[in-house]
Symmetry: C2
Subunit: 190 residues, 2 copies
DNA sequence: GCTAACTGCGTCACAACTGTTGCATATTGT
DNA sequence: ACAATATGCAACAGTTGTGACGCAGTTAGC
């Protein structure tokens, strides 16, 4: 649910939907108030086509939030958060997220409607993120008394800041900096 | 410049300007696309009065950016960034900023027009912020090889995250958490 | 107390965005 | 090739925001 998919879309229609969503991420990222027309133009389709696929602006936003959250969930999954050593998982997840930056930028800004699919997915991501942090704490990588929810928020903030300022750059190097900063801060190395 | 102040405003007019700016911070913080009417209502004045003081929306935004930047600069100054011990200065500055959160929230979002007064003030704040970090590094509080610009960005991000999530709460405790996280991260305490 | 400045209110023209429709044309799937 | 589906284009009404008026009534300052 969420997709207005009563019956299977034709190939070209599906292409349009993809183009619109991708363009919307780009355009709305740098101007959250951009018009449907601007989005349509960026997607290379007519405005009416956008309206044909998404009843209104909010429907588009919600679909966008859902796909973004799904992309993020995939990025997390790919890091094998439950089995890989915590440090490895954190690094991989971070690098993955840096590559789907559009999704992250979107998920960070738009607080999804409570009860929406995107909200559920976001909560799921948060949960899994904390789980990784717990495993890291069990290994002594994180202080025993740390507030993991705060740690998670700091982690998100570091990701957000990196995406805003270093949009391009080697994902691995950026991920290393994020994880290092998260675990050790700016203080002197031992 | 920036203020449309050809000649001294009458007392009530100045009051209006203040009310408008304060309301604008509040309103625009939670909806950057809010209408002039909404801002006027929040300020307790008529929409025409807003237009009388600020020619157009952008003029209001710029004036807002300037006053916000000035508030921040004052908050930094009050921390005696050049003379107080770095740790003390960082703590005080942080606590101060947490109290003028409106200004910070605004300065963080709205990238000011290049060349505007706000941009200059913002750069000045950045500069002084890095200066404090340099003093902290000289005292061994920050790793000798650290990229101070990255440290500054992390500091800003921690402030932003705290303001978004813990808008209320003891400024001193929140400041302590920010400084501690910045310098030591989430890792185990020595 | 008088003047100049300020404010609220109503009204106006103008521009931009939204959402919908009808129709001609092009693409897809079978 | 044919039918179903998609698309672009043009046009429409409706809404919302902007910026500018004039005017009557209020407030500040000398």
């Amino acid at each position: 649910m969420g997709e207005a998919t009563v019956r299977p879309l034709r190939a070209d229609a599906e292409r349009s939907v993809r183009a619109i969503l991708e363009a919307a991420v780009r355009v709305l990222a740098e101007d959250p108030g951009a018009s449907m027309d601007a989005i349509a133009a960026a997607a290379g389709v007519a405005r009416t086509t956008v309206h044909r696929r998404f009843a209104n602006r909010q429907a588009l936003i919600e679909a966008l939030a859902s796909t973004a959250a799904r992309q993020l969930a995939d990025a997390v999954d790919d890091g094998r958060p439950d089995t890989a050593p915590p440090l490895v998982a954190m690094h991989r997840i971070t690098a993955n997220v840096l590559q789907v930056k559009g999704a992250w930028a979107f998920a960070l800004e738009l607080t999804p409607e409570p009860g929406s699919e995107a909200a559920a997915l976001q909560q799921d991501i948060d949960r899994r993120c904390v789980a990784v942090l717990e495993r890291a704490r069990a290994e002594g990588l994180i202080d025993a008394g740390a507030d993991l929810d705060w740690v998670r928020r700091v982690y998100y903030a570091l990701l957000g800041e990196t995406l805003r300022g270093d949009a391009d750059g080697d994902p691995d190097a950026l991920a290393a900096r994020i994880v290092d900063t998260l675990l050790r801060g700016a203080g002197p190395r031992a």
